[in-house]
């Protein structure tokens, strides 16, 4: 490869639009790339194509009426976001949650995390030109989505959480079905390792690509698997424990290489940790009610006390923060959603500079952005 960084000849710069219609931007995203030859000099992300005013909607709906909006922010971590809204309001209003519901929320959230990472693996490999893994991971995703549909009624966007628990209980056969799905998944790891990690083209296109140091992560507020692939063991499930997570043993996988390959390895390892959490949770699932007796929110309007509250959870993409400002009424005064993809995409303005345009797709794909949660 000829290094032209020292080239001072009067080559013009060229502005290339990546998007907004592009198969690899994972949503409607426009990246204005300023190129000199094939080297990217600057990246200007243009976002907002999917702005649907969720924060304004939150001010005009009661707390329970906002449940359907939660999954639409990040549709791949829809269940995690749904449960996070319930948890935030429960913290504000001091609503107790029964033990069974706490453990059930962990099981469902971890299944949701696995489906999100599975889709990412397929989409990332597809971006690099490998079409086969996409179908392989979707086969596993189908099994999990079918399982989640039997207990929540939905496959992608969920409205299953309520203030004080979940709206539907897990039936008695659920642990058997869940273990069957986990057993299926267990047989796949070595298959995918042979298919993907042994592939020299994949290694050449992901190792050393899209490097992000810890200092860059800190400057941009990057969280999630991207941060963990830069060597920082920061996971909200351990840093600010919530729900039933403190009861279960799991590791936080990190890698030191800071590149796209490291992010791939971290997500695979995270899926295995999620399986570990689900197995422990299924063993520890207690009997009992799934929703606090007399729980209000849907039938009777909830009026949390006034104040400013921050609730932080680990979504599949990173730290998801909900800021609710309540003035004591039935509707929030202000609800702000600190979404992980927002900071992760903003960091691209720094990371993509001085890289080759051929690696732009791999870099963007490796950070796993979901545009609707950026645009809200």
């Amino acid at each position: 490869m000829i290094d032209r960084t020292a080239d001072t000849s009067p080559l013009d710069t060229y502005t290339l639009n990546m998007g907004p219609q592009h198969p690899s931007t994972h949503g409607v995203l426009r990246l204005k790339l300023t190129l000199r030859g094939e080297r990217i000099l600057a990246v200007d992300p243009v976002i907002g194509y999917g702005h649907r005013a969720h924060e304004k909607m939150a001010e005009n709906r009661t707390y329970a009426q906002f449940f359907p909006n939660t999954s639409r922010q990040d549709y791949l971590s829809g269940l995690i976001y749904n449960v996070a809204w319930a948890e935030a309001v429960e913290k504000m209003a001091n609503i107790a949650v029964p033990e069974r519901a706490l453990v059930a929320r962990v099981i469902l959230s971890e299944f949701n995390r696995i489906t999100s990472h599975l889709l990412w693996v397929g989409a990332f490999l597809m971006d690099l030109g490998a079409a086969t893994p996409f179908l392989y991971v979707f086969d596993e995703r189908e099994a999990i989505l079918g399982l989640l549909e039997t207990v929540t009624g939905s496959r992608l966007t969920y409205a299953t959480a309520r203030f004080g628990g979940l709206s539907r209980d897990l039936d008695d056969d659920f642990p058997r079905r869940a273990r069957a799905v986990l057993a299926r998944l267990e047989g796949r790891w070595s298959e995918w390792e042979d298919l993907i990690e042994g592939n020299v083209i994949f290694l050449q296109r992901s190792q050393g690509i899209g490097t992000m140091t810890e200092a860059q992560c800190r400057a941009w507020g990057v969280t999630g698997p991207v941060l963990r692939a830069s060597g920082v063991a920061y996971d909200i499930r351990k840093a600010e424990p919530y729900g039933a997570y403190p009861r279960f043993e799991f590791d936080i996988p990190t890698r030191p290489e800071c590149d796209a390959y490291a992010r791939y390895l971290v997500r695979i390892a995270e899926m295995k940790q999620s399986v570990r959490i689900i197995e422990q949770a299924l063993d520890a699932l207690p009997a009992g009610p799934i929703l606090t007796e007399g729980s209000i929110g849907v039938k009777k309007r909830l009026k949390p006390p006034a104040g400013t509250f921050y609730h932080n959870v680990e979504s599949a993409r990173g730290a998801y923060g909900i800021v609710i400002v309540s003035e004591g009424g039935t509707e929030p005064w202000r609800a702000k959603f600190r979404t992980p993809s927002y900071a992760n995409l903003a960091a691209m303005q720094d990371i993509m500079c001085n890289t080759m345009v051929a690696d732009a797709v791999a870099t963007l794909g490796s950070i796993d952005v979901v545009i609707p949660e950026i645009d809200r």
Partner: protein, 170 residues
């Protein structure tokens, strides 16, 4: 630097002001009200203490205080602890930009500008981020309650021409 140490540093620098109103807070280890002129120094102290800018929220308090509240939360990796810095800024005042301290603040401030109309001095590119480039209103203000005009709204379009009479079949 622990949250208590960071807060002590802010207080020592004279950045902290008394709370303008009583408001309960949850989910934060420490929170202080800071004068807007001291925001950059507070952010630098947080950065030096190993914190990152986690979020920035603008809250419309025009009805009660004729001001916006800016809520910045800083967090760190280990041990995680959230420190919130809150500033009350009058509607017409410009706020010093934090984009020189934390680059992510450039996007947070653009969002506050386009949704509330808060101006930030020293911002490299204060323009629309999520909204269309020719938006003339600030949607998250409490005073904004009417839907914006739309090409799909008949009142904006000229009256359609009278329909042609049906052609007679021979």
């Amino acid at each position: 630097m622990s949250p208590a140490e960071l807060v002590a540093r802010l207080e020592a620098a004279g950045a902290v002001v008394p709370a303008p109103f009583e408001h309960a807070v949850g989910g934060m280890q420490e929170w202080r009200w800071v004068g807007p002129a001291h925001l950059v120094a507070a952010a630098q102290a947080a950065r030096d203490g190993g914190y990152f800018l986690e979020s920035m929220t603008c809250i419309d308090r025009l009805a009660a205080h004729q001001s916006f509240e800016l809520l910045y939360t800083f967090n760190r990796y280990a041990p995680a602890s959230r420190v919130a810095v809150r500033a009350l800024v009058r509607q017409t005042d410009a706020v010093p930009s934090l984009s020189g301290v934390f680059p992510i603040a450039a996007w947070n401030e653009r969002e506050a500008w386009e949704f509330f109309g808060v101006t930030f001095s020293g911002h490299p590119n204060l323009t629309w981020l999520l909204l269309p480039e020719d938006t003339t209103f600030q949607p998250l203000l409490k005073s904004f309650t009417a839907p914006p005009p739309s090409i799909y709204d008949d009142s904006m379009n000229p009256a359609p021409p009278a329909p042609e009479p049906a052609a007679k079949h021979e």
